[in-house]
Symmetry: C2
Amino acid sequence: MKNVNTESTADTAQCPWTTREAELLAVTLQQLQQHGYDRLTVEAVAAAARASKATMYRRWPSKADLVLAAFIEGTRSSSVPPHTGSLRTDLLEIGRAVCEHSRDHTPTMRAVLNEMSHNPRLSQAFHEKFVIQRKMIIDGVLAAAVERGEIEESAINEEIFDLLPGYLVFRALVADRPPTEETVRTLVDTVLLPSLTRRVTEF
Amino acid sequence: MKNVNTESTADTAQCPWTTREAELLAVTLQQLQQHGYDRLTVEAVAAAARASKATMYRRWPSKADLVLAAFIEGTRSSSVPPHTGSLRTDLLEIGRAVCEHSRDHTPTMRAVLNEMSHNPRLSQAFHEKFVIQRKMIIDGVLAAAVERGEIEESAINEEIFDLLPGYLVFRALVADRPPTEETVRTLVDTVLLPSLTRRVTEF
């Protein structure tokens, strides 16, 4: 928490792909949204993007790897820490971004999670390339709030650091009630802020 | 919230299946845990249970229906409201049950969610037979806490009523950190109870 390097956090928003690779991933996302995971083939993506199958497989050894890369690329805009200057608006912004990406990518996310059950390598890649990046965003937002004196460091609980995005993702994936701005606001104002500020006796 | 009928809530724990149907679902769960969703076939379940394929398909029109029924049957023990006499221990008990079921059924749950993306009928069945039952449990626990004077009704927020099970399910499905007793305790003591009791000025 204390060692968060905000420069490297900001770097996570930089595109790790060449222009051509980013094009291939954009085509993958398009085809995912049109046909779903099961009916997507690497061959069809290659054909639609006028690439060779060899090019595709050299970069992404399986359909699951390709789809994970496309999903991460599709949600990259939310890998930038918000830096709005207040904890409340930072949290609202993180929540807004999760809602937006959930709306676009719920079926893809479900398909990737299902693949992860029998593909430990994919599971590891998802963790390293997605979960850890998201943790850095939240760590950065909370560290900035401590810095500004909005919360005490002791009020931050590592065990449930991802409560905000986690509950919103649950709503999108499982609950049949996609999360809305109202969900985010309720969560931030009635749960997260009261919990994070509960031991702070004066500012 | 106020109209919760605790008798019908308790009924949700009663088995809706005949002994033979419950056997078939138990075999399905066994095969799911052994082979995973993709490699499970209705034929293999029928063979292992010495049932005819016709019997299976008459009761559950597709593999997805069969698996959903098995999943719901496998988590039925947590469809009983805890009634421990205190809100804190009721919440801890709900959390404990979610952790236990998540441990056993994460791959099944991922497979069912993935199927739901392209099967609206399955999605509706999951909602009616699982999500709504779980809501009744939580509504019952909160209503009892209001009744006992532990919390004020105005502190209950419908928008995020499923925060406790939702975050735990997220941890099991997505976060690569299966939820533990410590997760539940932290969530209940540092987040849920402070939020639910925050407007209560005296007991």
